[in-house]
Amino acid sequence: MTYFADVGALARKDLLLELRARDTLPAMLLFVVATFVVFHFSLPAHSSQLASSGLLWVAIIFTALLGLGRAFVPEREQRVLDGLVLAPCDRSAIWLAKSIATLAFLGAAELVALPVFALFFHGLSGATVAGVVLADVGICAVGTFLGAMAVATRARDLLLPLLFLPLAIPIVVGGVGASVVGSPGRYLAFLALYDVLFGLLCWATFEYVVTE
């Protein structure tokens, strides 16, 4: 239980920091809405639903990337990560708490973004929404892990997208599949499998990312 108490304390801290600084969520919201506006005017009239469904996933991935790039900024500014790493809590709690906070920001951005998408393009099926939820979990798990790796380097702003985008390809494949096919079950299962596999991998190896 102390593990989850640590995760709760750390996640609460991240939410409080965002509430104070308002750095991440407004930027994500503005970005995703602006992206849909740009896509709306750049897609030819009467273009297929398939094309716009693909664009939804592009917008989600890049919006998430924006949030992930900011995820470890408070820790980087004062090297607070050293303080957290020294604490006697399991180091994976740092990753899990940060993933939960990033998931909350991404989810909040999508609460606005998905209705905007429906307004500009077409309505969303239940499978698409389920796909988005499953994809968010994978994006935040893997992205937070890579964000912690990138924050220790000088080329952090460059490194995160370079590492994250290749690993996000299965998420895009699963998400687009769930959005466009008639029976999306296997694509949703694929996304769930991705979440479990990569979630476990990140959870088990995070300690090595934060030790010099």
């Binding site: 102390t2 409080l16 004062q78 020294l86």
Partner: protein
């Protein structure tokens, strides 16, 4: 409590520490001196458990929970208040009677009246005082202090002197400083890095 044999550290091709031997007994007050770039901070980070040596053997006989590490940076969140920062660390270190302990430290280091202010509004000296509160919060057995007098005014430095004197003999202290005379009355051993 600390035993180092031929300890070295490399970052890529760059060697920042070479062949350090160190024995620090329980209750000792060890002072590490040396010019800039001699590896003082690296040695302290190794002893605190923040890094692993690239060569040699290093044994620190206390668990992570019993180490208090003061770094160059205060390791506190600028957008949180002093109270919120210490509460977070208190939870992570499972400090019993957390509120009382935090209140006592904030009062001792003269931060009680500004406990609800965000750290970003603090001066460098006040932030260093808060960092000292963070280090002492969980009553660590081993104190690893990297240039603890940095940014402290005379009153703050006197407070730290008093605190170190109080802990002298009870806790093990490893401190790096450019001003060894300041801690000379307490020092039981000295290590000069070249």
């Amino acid at each position: 409590m600390i035993r180092a044999r031929k300890v070295g550290k490399r970052f890529g091709d760059k060697r920042v520490l070479r062949g350090v031997d160190l024995d620090v007994a329980r209750g000792a007050f060890a002072v590490v001196t040396g010019p800039n770039g001699s590896g003082k901070t690296t040695l302290l980070r190794l002893c605190a458990g923040l890094a692993l040596p690239s060569e040699g053997e290093l044994e620190v006989e206390v668990p992570r929970a019993a180490v208090g590490y003061l770094a160059h940076e205060p390791l506190v969140y600028r957008e949180l208040t002093a109270l919120e920062n210490l509460d977070l660390y208190g939870r992570l270190y499972r400090v019993t009677e957390r509120r009382e302990r935090i209140g006592m430290l904030l009062e001792r280091f003269g931060l009680w009246d500004v406990r609800h202010d965000r750290v970003v509004s603090y001066s460098r000296g006040m932030t260093q005082r808060l960092a000292l509160c963070r280090v002492l919060l969980h009553e660590p057995e081993l104190l690893v202090l990297d240039e603890p007098y940095t940014a402290l005014d005379e009153a703050g430095a006197d407070l730290l002197d008093a605190q170190l004197t109080e802990l002298h003999g009870e806790r093990t202290v490893l401190v790096s400083t450019h001003d060894p005379d300041r801690v000379a009355p307490l020092a039981t051993q000295q290590l000069a890095l070249a």
